[in-house]
């Protein structure tokens, strides 16, 4: 027993702190079922599912950044927005004849396209922009901050300020950003006629494929030395520093990957929703993103997807019936999760698997200290 342990444990990749999905046997049927969704649900439901899956990409990024890296970002909306606006700008331009301006610019009295719009005429620039703009911004920003050893609450507050500034900037620059209404009314993307069932199905499958791909890739990343070191830095940044590692680049990489995924999520969401606006990228949406992951379990990729779907489905239900109640309901859910279920849904499933529901119920009811 001793020998086998010696042989295997060193290569376990350090799964402590990673609640990976439940048995892999479950994953395949879920993916197949999801792929068949276009024939199983209504067009409206498919569109909702597509939006939520897009957001799940962002949520998985937060697992890496927040769960594994211990870096709470309240500014993911910024990167989501950058991705969304990048693709939206392209779609606005692609629909125009040469020399024409998007309608809102004409109404605002602009007579030339702002210089920073021009490159987005190219589909390639737009696609690259979706990932490179958020990625580059995140890398520069987080490097500057982490290098000065700013972390924890201060980092969270800075990112929140970033979200506020970004939304404010978008609104204030109405002539070139579309202001409060954002960008909407798209016709085609890369030759695909938006609004047709073919486009809806294609974009849905693209999103699903990205979710599966990112899930697999992040899982591998979390199991690598990098993932182990990221968790180690989360648990003891100084100890790691005094073992000869520089924690800054590890955190910068995580934050950058999180931002790239947020940008991708924003672009796909914009395609599914047909709109991107400051209301989707500011302080409140950025906090909501963290709540999806808190609900699902911040160390679990599968949990993050489940949390995103669950919270957004609930939002769809609650906010169409009682629009004023949603934020209160969300706040309540957040408080409940933080106090009762620190591991989120994934933690609940893991506990149920390990110790049975009885114990969890007892904990829930009696509130036994952990």
């Amino acid at each position: 027993m001793d020998m086998s342990m010696r042989k295997e444990t060193p290569l376990s990749g350090g799964l402590a702190g990673v609640t990976l999905g439940r048995p892999m046997a479950l994953t395949l049927p879920v993916v197949v079922l999801a792929a068949l969704a276009p024939w199983l649900v209504s067009a409206y439901e498919l569109n909702l599912l597509a939006r939520f899956l897009a957001m799940a990409l962002l949520a998985m990024g937060l697992v890496l950044v927040w769960g594994q890296g211990g870096v709470l970002s309240l500014g993911q909306g910024v990167f989501f927005g950058l991705g969304g606006y990048a693709i939206a700008m392209h779609m606005k331009l692609a629909a125009l004849a040469d020399g024409d301006l998007p309608d809102f610019m004409v109404w605002s009295g602009l007579d030339a396209l702002p210089w920073w719009w021009v490159p987005f005429k190219s589909p390639l620039v737009a696609i690259l922009g979706v990932v490179l703009v958020p990625g580059a911004l995140a890398a520069l920003f987080s490097w500057a901050v982490f290098r000065r050893r700013v972390g924890g609450v201060y980092f969270a507050l800075i990112t929140q300020a970033l979200a506020l500034a970004f939304a404010t900037l978008l609104i204030s620059q109405q002539p070139s950003t579309g202001g409060f209404n954002g960008l909407t009314d798209f016709q085609t993307v890369m030759g695909l006629e938006l609004g047709t069932p073919a486009a809806a199905h294609g974009l849905y499958w693209l999103t699903l494929a990205l979710v599966v791909g990112v899930f697999v890739a992040l899982r591998a990343l979390m199991a690598s030395r990098y993932g182990l070191l990221l968790r180690a830095i989360r648990d003891g940044e100084n100890r790691i520093r005094f073992l000869g590692y520089d924690p800054t680049p590890f955190k910068v990489v995580a934050f950058t990957i999180g931002a790239v995924l947020a940008g991708l999520a924003g672009a796909l969401f914009t395609l599914h929703a047909g709109v991107v606006s400051p209301a989707l990228v500011g302080v409140v949406p950025s906090i909501e993103m963290v709540i999806w992951v808190a609900v699902g379990g911040r160390n679990s990729l599968a949990g993050a997807i489940a949390g995103t779907l669950a919270v957004n489905l609930a939002k769809d239900g609650v906010s169409s019936a009682f629009p004023d109640l949603w934020l209160y309901a969300l706040g309540l859910v957040f408080v409940l999760v933080v106090t009762l279920l620190p591991g989120g849904l994934a933690g609940l499933v893991a506990d149920a698997g390990a110790t049975g529901w009885g114990k969890r119920l007892k904990t829930l009811i009696i509130g036994e200290a952990k």
Binding site: D2, M5, R6, T9, P10, L11, S12, G13, G14, A16, G17, A220, L221, A223, S224, R225, Y226, L228, L229, R231, A232, R234, D235, G236, N238, R239, I240, R241, F242, L243, G244, Y245, D246, P249, F250, V253
Partner: protein
């Protein structure tokens, strides 16, 4: 090639090349309070040195200054003939110094073996971390250290679940796993019983030669078992240096410890 260079180096400047670390008039000023006050110390390669002094003498601050956690207000720290006083912490460690903290600094959420794996990793640059494989040599080293520190059967346990003494050993193991030339062990036997303490002394004595070791401790029986040269510091300054027996018999040393002991009894 490097062996030859080293050999000729030794040939020409024999005394200097045996020197591993030199602290040269180091002062650390915490808003007017001098935790180190013009302190100097030299350590030769492959030797063991014990540092003692009453509470608050500045022993931990000394380690902090060597490793870059605290910066010298004046004076220099020279390691392998190079000035490391102002290098970033991880750079200092990569040059070959590793420290065990006074309160055990293991990573509680990671398994015992992962703690050691991280310490044993040779290439600590971030881009080399995107691999799954572990070098056979690192694996062997970790297995070896697990055996030495007696934690082979706890390899998969989270480090946070270890007993206090086991955490101390794990951290010593981590420090050793880095292959540092200079090991700074701050109170390695705190919280250990007599049996564990003497095992620790044996462990440390085995490290000497391959490593240079600086041990901070208060426990007299532990110091006797280590049987090394002792440096005594008091109020941030050098007080005495000598063998354990000489230090035990020294009146000045007794005075600073007794003074402290008297204060303590008054408080009690």
């Amino acid at each position: 090639m490097s062996a030859q260079a080293t050999a000729s180096h030794i040939g020409t400047t024999a005394p200097a090349s045996n020197l591993l670390l030199a602290m040269d008039g180091v002062t650390v000023d915490f808003d007017g309070f001098k935790a180190l006050n013009g302190f100097s110390l030299t350590l030769d390669r492959g030797t063991l040195r014990v540092l003692i002094g009453p509470n608050g003498a500045g022993k931990s601050t000394l380690c902090d200054t060597i490793i870059g956690r605290v910066r010298a207000t004046s004076g220099r720290v020279i390691f392998k003939d190079q000035d490391i006083t102002h290098l970033p912490e991880h750079e200092i460690v990569r040059r070959g110094i590793c420290r065990k903290f006074q309160t055990p600094g293991v990573l509680p959420g990671l398994s015992v073996v992962d703690n050691l794996m991280i310490a044993a990793k040779r290439d600590r640059r971030w881009w080399s971390s995107f691999r799954h494989g572990v070098a056979a040599e690192e694996k062997a080293r970790v297995a070896d250290i697990l055996e030495t520190i007696g934690l082979a059967d706890r390899a998969a346990a989270p480090a946070g679940q270890l007993a206090h003494g086991e955490k101390q050993w794990l951290e010593i193991g981590m420090v050793v796993a880095t292959r540092a030339d200079l090991l700074l062990l701050d109170e390695p036997t705190a919280g250990m019983g007599p049996a564990e303490t003497s095992q620790t002394a044996t462990l440390i004595r085995r490290l000497v030669g391959q490593h240079t070791v600086l041990v901070i401790d208060h426990d007299m029986s532990f110091l006797e078992q280590l049987d090394a040269r002792v440096t005594v510091m008091h109020q941030g300054q050098f007080l005495k240096e000598g063998s354990v027996a000489a230090i035990r018999a020294d009146a000045d040393v007794a005075a600073v410890y007794l003074g402290r002991a008297k204060e303590n009894t008054h408080h009690v």
